[in-house]
C-alpha cells in the first residue's frame, strides 16, 4: 500500500517564486506512483495543469482561519494520513495539530529567513516536535540548530534542483533584437524587487557600474523582476549609473533560459538567500556568477568553476570580482550536474523512506 502525504504549503503549482518551484520539485520527486500527495496551498491556481500521478492540489485559500478549517476537513477526508508536510514554519502550529490529530509523522521544511529570524519559544517547540526537518542549505541548517534543540541527524539538507531547461545554448536572436542591449557585456540579475528583500544587492551593483564602464564602456546591467521597490530602484539606478541599467519587469519562467544565455555574467550579491536557485540556473546555462556572502549562497555556488562569493559591503571587492569573472568567460556547467533532478528526486525519496520507516510519534517529546 502506498503512502499519503498531506502538504500544507504557501506556494506551489500556479504560484511564482523559488519556494513554489521547490515545492513542485519536491512533490514531483516524491510522486512515485504509489504515494498520494494532497496539496493545500495559500497561493496559486493549479487548474488546467497536469500534475504528476498521485498529486492533487486544492484551491488556494489565503485567509488564515478559513485555511485552517478547510485543512482540518480536507485532512479528515484524506485519512489515513502517513505524513503531514509543513512547507513553511508559518504553518507549523496547524501542521503540528494535524499530525498529532491524525497520528501522522510531522515533516517541517525550512527555507531560510523563515527560521533565521523568528525565534519565539512557540516556534522553537513546534519545530522541535518534528520527526524530520529539511532545509535547503547548510547555512540554514546551522542557524536552525543554533537555537532549536533537535538531534542534528533529524535535520537534513535537501538542496534546490535545477530544471532541465536550463542548459547552455546560443542566445535567442528574437530576444537579442527585442531587447537591443548593444555590444555589452551584459550583467544580469533576476529576482523580486521587493522592499522587504533589499538584501538582494541591486543597489550595490548599481554603485559599481560607473567604475566598471571605464574598462567596459558598453557594459549594461539587466534587471529582471518586479515588485514594490522597483520605482525606487529605478531612481537610484538613474542617479548613480545613468543609462547603464535596464529594468525588464517580470519575466516568465519559460523565458528565463534565453535571458541567461543572452547575458555574460550573473550578478546578485545577496546576503540572505535561503539558497539562491537563480545562481544555479544561470550557471547551468553557462553563465559565471557573482554571489553575496551570507545565507545559503555558498551552497548554490559550489566552487570556482561556477563563480565567486563577495561581501557586497566591500564595493571595490565587488567591482574586482565582476571584472575578473567577466574576463574568465563561461562557467563549467558540469559543476551543476549534481543539482539536477535525478539526484534531487533520489535524495527526496530516500529522505521520505527514512521518515516513513520511523514509528509514528504521538507526543511532543524529542
Amino acid at each position: 500500500m502506498g503512502s499519503r502525504i498531506l502538504a500544507l504549503v504557501g506556494d506551489c503549482y500556479g504560484a511564482r517564486g523559488g519556494i513554489a518551484r521547490y515545492n513542485q520539485d519536491l512533490f514531483e520527486g516524491l510522486a512515485d506512483g504509489r504515494t498520494e500527495i494532497l496539496i493545500l496551498p495559500r497561493h496559486g491556481d493549479a487548474s488546467g495543469r497536469e500534475l504528476p500521478a498521485g498529486v492533487r492540489q486544492k484551491t488556494a485559500i489565503f485567509g488564515r482561519l478559513r485555511y485552517s478549517l478547510t485543512a482540518i476537513v480536507a485532512a479528515w477526508r484524506f485519512r489515513p494520513i502517513d505524513t503531514v508536510f509543513c512547507g513553511h514554519v508559518f504553518m507549523a502550529p496547524l501542521g503540528f495539530v494535524l499530525a498529532r490529530l491524525f497520528r501522522a509523522r510531522y515533516w517541517v521544511q525550512a527555507h531560510g529567513t523563515d527560521v533565521w529570524k523568528d525565534r519565539r519559544g512557540l516556534v522553537r517547540r513546534l519545530i522541535e516536535a518534528a520527526d524530520l526537518v529539511t532545509t535547503v542549505s547548510r547555512e540554514t541548517r546551522r542557524i536552525l540548530l543554533a537555537w532549536v534543540d533537535l538531534p542534528p541527524e533529524r535535520v537534513r539538507v535537501l538542496p534546490d534542483t535545477v530544471q532541465d531547461v536550463f542548459r547552455p545554448g546560443p542566445p535567442s536572436p528574437v530576444l537579442v533584437n527585442r531587447l537591443n542591449l548593444g555590444k555589452g557585456p551584459i550583467l544580469l540579475t533576476v529576482g523580486r524587487l521587493a522592499s522587504s528583500e533589499r538584501y538582494k544587492g541591486h543597489e550595490a551593483v548599481f554603485s559599481v557600474l560607473a567604475g566598471l564602464r571605464v574598462s567596459f564602456p558598453t557594459l549594461i546591467h539587466v534587471v529582471a523582476g518586479d515588485g514594490d521597490d522597483r520605482s525606487r530602484l529605478e531612481a537610484v539606478a538613474e542617479e548613480v549609473a545613468p543609462g547603464a541599467v535596464r529594468f525588464l519587469g517580470y519575466v516568465p519562467d519559460a523565458d528565463l533560459p534565453d535571458l541567461y544565455r543572452l547575458a555574460d555574467l550573473y550578478v546578485m550579491p545577496s546576503t540572505e538567500e535561503g539558497f539562491g536557485i537563480v545562481y544555479l540556473e544561470a550557471a547551468a546555462c553557462g553563465l559565471r556568477v557573482v554571489g553575496g556572502k551570507g545565507g545559503g549562497t555558498a551552497d548554490a555556488i559550489p566552487d570556482e568553476r561556477v563563480g565567486v562569493i563577495v561581501d557586497p559591503a566591500d564595493r571595490s571587492a565587488l567591482a574586482v570580482a565582476i571584472d575578473r569573472q567577466l574576463r574568465r568567460g563561461r562557467a563549467d556547467p558540469t559543476a551543476v550536474e549534481p543539482y539536477r533532478r535525478a539526484h534531487f528526486a533520489a535524495c527526496a525519496r530516500a529522505l521520505y523512506a527514512r521518515l516513513a520507516a520511523q514509528p509514528r510519534r504521538t507526543t511532543a517529546g524529542p
Binding site: T135, R141, R142, E153, V157, P159, D299, D303, H343, L351
Partner: protein, 611 residues
C-alpha cells in the same frame, strides 16, 4: 590504541573529500599513534579514512590501517583492542573465512562481512571504528559498550566527518566552532562534558554502546546496542551461577585480567597503594606473567607522610615480584607541563592530571600498554555515593512530594545567609534535590549547582544550556529499565554511565594517548560486569575485600585496611594555586575543583577557541 578520522561526502552536491583536510585531522592526533600513519581515499574521492597507529597487536605492516577486506568491499579505520579476537578469528576460520594478517582489525572486517552491524555485540574490548561498505554505500561508526574509546562526529548537512578527538575535527578546518551552551553548562555543573554534547555545537560524541550509520542522505539516529542499567537489571534477574559470591568475583577478575593481557608488547600496571591496582598486579603475577613493570606516582610534598602511597606500593610490587618504577612529580613539573596538558585535553575536565603524569612516567620507561584499576569503585561500590545517595533519597523523598518546598528553602537560604551559617555552597539545595535519585546524584557529583551558574556564566548561555542539557532528565535516563533497579545497582548505573564514562574514561584516553600509552581497564568490561554477582549480593558483602583476596598471596592487610584517599594528592593544591584561589589550610577538593574549573575554562576554552 590509535587515532582514527574520516570524511564522507554523502550528498551528491558535496565536494569530494579534501585529502589535505583529512591529513590535518590525522596529524592533530600524532601522539595517539606515533608508530605509523595511513590515509585512504575511495576511487570516487567521496570517502576518506585516516589512521594513526600505536602498534600493540601484530606489529608488522600487515596490521597497518586503514585496512581493506580481500575483495575490496570493506575498509576500516579502528582504534582500540579486541580482547577476544583470537576466539572470533578461530570461529570465522572454521566457517571458511581466510585471514591474511594476525591483527584484530582484520577480524572486524570478517565479522562485519558475516554478521553486519550486529557484530558489535560479539566484541569484547575497547573500540571505536569507522567502516566503509562500498557495496551498500554506507559508513558505519561504532563505539564500545562502556565508552572507553572516544568517537566524535560532525555533520554539516552535506559531508560527515569523524575522529577520535573533537580537536582533530576542528583542526581539519571545515567544522564550525560555534559554542554549545549545553556542553559549557554541563562542564561547569559536573566537571566534565556529558555525552553526546561537546563544547562545540557542530561536534557530537557518539554515545557509548551505540552505532551510527551514514547513508546517501546522511547520518541516521545513533542506535544503542548496550545499556548499563539494562545490563545490571539482567544480571540481577538471571539465576545465580554456582559457587559463592567471592569465588564468582575471583573468577571474573581473573578472566578479565587474562583477556586484557592480550598483546604483542609487554603489559605493565599503574600501581597505587589501593586494592584495585594491587589486585591487578597480584592477579597478573599469579598467571605467571613475566617481568611485570609497575609504575607508581609519588609527590615530593608527601614524602614521609601518611598520604604518601609510594612505600606501600613498593611493598606490593615486591610482594608480587614486579619491577617497580616510582616517578616523583613536583609542582614545578606540573607548571611546566600545564600548557601541553591543556593542549592535549580534548574537552574540558577538572581531572586527569594524575593520569597525565603516570602515563608520562610509563612512556619514559618505554611502556606502551598498562593496566589501570579504574572502574572497580563503580563495580564494587567503592564510592561514598553508594551509601549517601540512597540514604538521601529515602530520607528526603517525602519533601520532594511537597511542590515548591525545596526550591523555597533553597531561595530562603540565600547566598549571604548560607555564607553566614558557613554552609557549603551546595547545602541550600539539599531539600530541593536530595529526594530524587537524579537530584541526589547531581548534588553528590556536581562542581556547581544549577542556581549558581549565573554567577560564573553569561545568563543566556545558562538558560539555553540548561534547557538543552536538561541535567536531571539526562541523569534519570541512565536509570531507565523495564522493571527497575535496586539501590546498589542504581548508584552503580549512575556512576558507570555518567561519572566514569564522561570523566574518568575520557581523561584516561586523552592523558594516556598524549604520551602514546594505551591504558587498559579490566574492571571496565561488559563481560566482566555481567559475570559479577547481582547488585544486592555485592551490596551485602565487602566486595573490595573479596577482590583483595583474589591474588595468591592476597594483598597485605595494610592495603586492605588503608582508608580510601581518593584525590588526596598535592594536585588539588596545585590546581587551587594555579587557578589563583586563596591559599587554604589543607586541601578542600570541592573549592579546588570550582576554582580550577573556572581557570581551566578561561585558559583553554573560553570562546571556545582551543584546537
Amino acid at each position: 590504541m590509535c587515532g582514527i578520522a574520516g570524511i564522507h561526502a554523502y550528498l551528491d552536491v558535496a565536494p569530494p573529500v579534501d585529502r589535505e583536510e583529512l591529513a590535518r585531522m590525522n596529524d592533530r592526533m600524532v601522539s595517539r599513534g606515533p608508530d605509523g600513519s595511513g590515509l585512504w581515499l575511495s576511487r570516487e574521492g567521496r570517502t576518506g579514512l585516516g589512521h594513526r597507529r600505536l602498534a600493540i597487536i601484530d606489529l608488522s605492516v600487515g596490521g597497518a590501517q586503514p585496512m581493506h577486506s580481500q575483495d575490496g568491499r570493506l575498509t576500516i579505520t579502528f582504534n582500540g583492542e579486541i580482547y577476544n579476537y583470537r576466539e572470533l578469528r578461530a570461529e570465522l576460520q572454521a566457517a571458511g573465512r581466510t585471514f591474511r594478517t594476525q591483527s584484530d582489525t582484520e577480524v572486524l572486517l570478517h565479522l562485519y562481512a558475516v554478521h553486519g552491524v550486529t557484530m558489535v555485540g560479539r566484541l569484547r574490548g575497547m573500540f571505536a571504528f569507522g567502516l566503509w561498505d562500498a557495496e551498500k554505500k554506507v559508513l558505519l561508526l561504532a563505539r564500545d559498550p562502556l565508552g572507553i574509546k572516544p568517537l566524535y562526529w560532525a555533520d554539516d548537512g552535506w559531508t560527515f566527518r569523524f575522529a577520535s578527538q573533537a580537536k582533530a575535527l576542528l583542526a581539519g578546518g571545515a567544522v564550525s566552532r560555534d559554542p554549545d551552551p549545553a556542553g559549557i553548562v554541563g562542564f561547569h555543573l559536573l566537571g566534565s562534558v556529558p555525552e553526546p554534547f561537546t563544547v562545540w555545537r557542530s561536534i557530537q560524541s557518539l554515545p557509548a554502546g551505540a552505532t551510527l550509520t551514514v547513508d546517501a542522505i546522511g547520518p541516521g539516529t545513533p542506535q544503542r546496542y548496550y545499556d548499563v542499567a539494562s545490563a545490571l537489571e539482567d544480571r540481577a534477574t538471571v539465576q545465580a551461577a554456582r559457587g559463592s559470591a567471592g569465588s564468582r568475583i575471583a573468577d571474573a577478575v581473573r578472566d578479565s585480567v587474562r583477556h586484557h593481557l592480550v598483546a604483542d608488547v609487554p603489559v605493565a600496571v599503574f600501581l597505587s597503594a589501593g586494592i584495585d591496582s594491587g589486585t591487578l598486579l597480584g592477579t597478573m603475577s599469579g598467571m605467571g606473567v613475566p617481568d611485570i613493570t609497575a609504575v607508581t606516582l609519588g609527590f615530593q610534598e608527601f614524602e614521609g607522610q601518611p598520604l604518601d602511597e609510594a612505600p606501600l606500593a613498593a611493598e606490593v610490587a615486591a610482594r608480587y615480584g614486579a619491577r617497580h618504577i616510582l616517578r616523583t612529580v613536583d609542582r614545578a613539573e606540573f607548571e611546566r607541563d600545564l600548557p601541553a596538558l591543556l593542549d592535549a585535553m580534548d574537552l574540558p575536565t577538572v581531572d586527569g592530571i594524575n593520569t597525565w603524569f603516570v602515563a608520562k612516567a610509563a612512556r619514559e620507561a618505554g611502556i606502551k600498554v598498562a593496566l589501570s584499576g579504574l572502574g572497580a569503585d563503580e563495580c564494587f561500590g567503592g564510592y561514598p555515593s553508594f551509601r549517601d545517595v540512597p540514604r538521601s533519597v529515602h530520607w528526603l523523598r517525602p519533601v520532594s512530594w511537597v511542590p515548591g518546598l525545596g526550591a523555597l528553602v533553597r531561595r530562603g537560604l540565600s547566598g549571604a545567609l548560607a555564607a553566614g551559617l558557613r554552609l557549603h555552597p551546595k547545602a541550600p539545595g539539599v531539600l530541593q534535590y536530595g529526594g530524587t535519585w537524579a537530584g541526589a546524584y547531581l548534588l553528590r557529583r556536581s562542581v556547581y549547582m544549577p542556581w549558581e551558574l549565573h554567577e560564573i556564566l553569561d545568563p543566556t548561555v545558562v538558560e539555553e544550556g540548561l534547557r538543552r542539557l536538561a541535567p536531571l532528565s539526562r541523569i534519570a535516563a541512565a536509570l531507565e529499565t523495564s522493571h527497575g533497579l535496586g539501590d546498589f545497582d542504581r548508584v552503580a548505573a549512575l556512576e558507570t554511565s555518567l561519572y566514569m564514562r564522561n570523566q574518568l574514561l575520557r581523561d584516561s584516553d586523552w592523558a594516556g594517548m598524549a604520551h602514546g600509552v594505551e591504558i587498559r581497564v579490566p574492571f571496565v568490561d561488559a563481560f566482566f560486569l555481567a559475570a559479577l554477582p547481582a547488585g544486592p549480593v555485592l551490596a551485602g558483602m565487602n566486595a573490595k575485600d573479596a577482590i583483595a583476596a583474589v591474588p595468591e598471596p592476597p594483598l597485605p592487610d595494610e592495603v586492605r585496611h588503608r582508608r580510601k584517599t581518593g584525590f588526596s594528592t598535592p594536585v588539588g593544591r596545585w590546581l587551587n594555586d594555579a587557578s589563583g584561589a586563596p591559599q587554604q589550610q589543607g586541601i578542600d577538593l570541592s573549592a579546588a575543583s570550582r576554582a580550577w574549573a573556572r581557570e581551566l575554562w578561561r585558559a583553554g576554552w573560553a570562546g571556545p577557541a582551543a584546537a
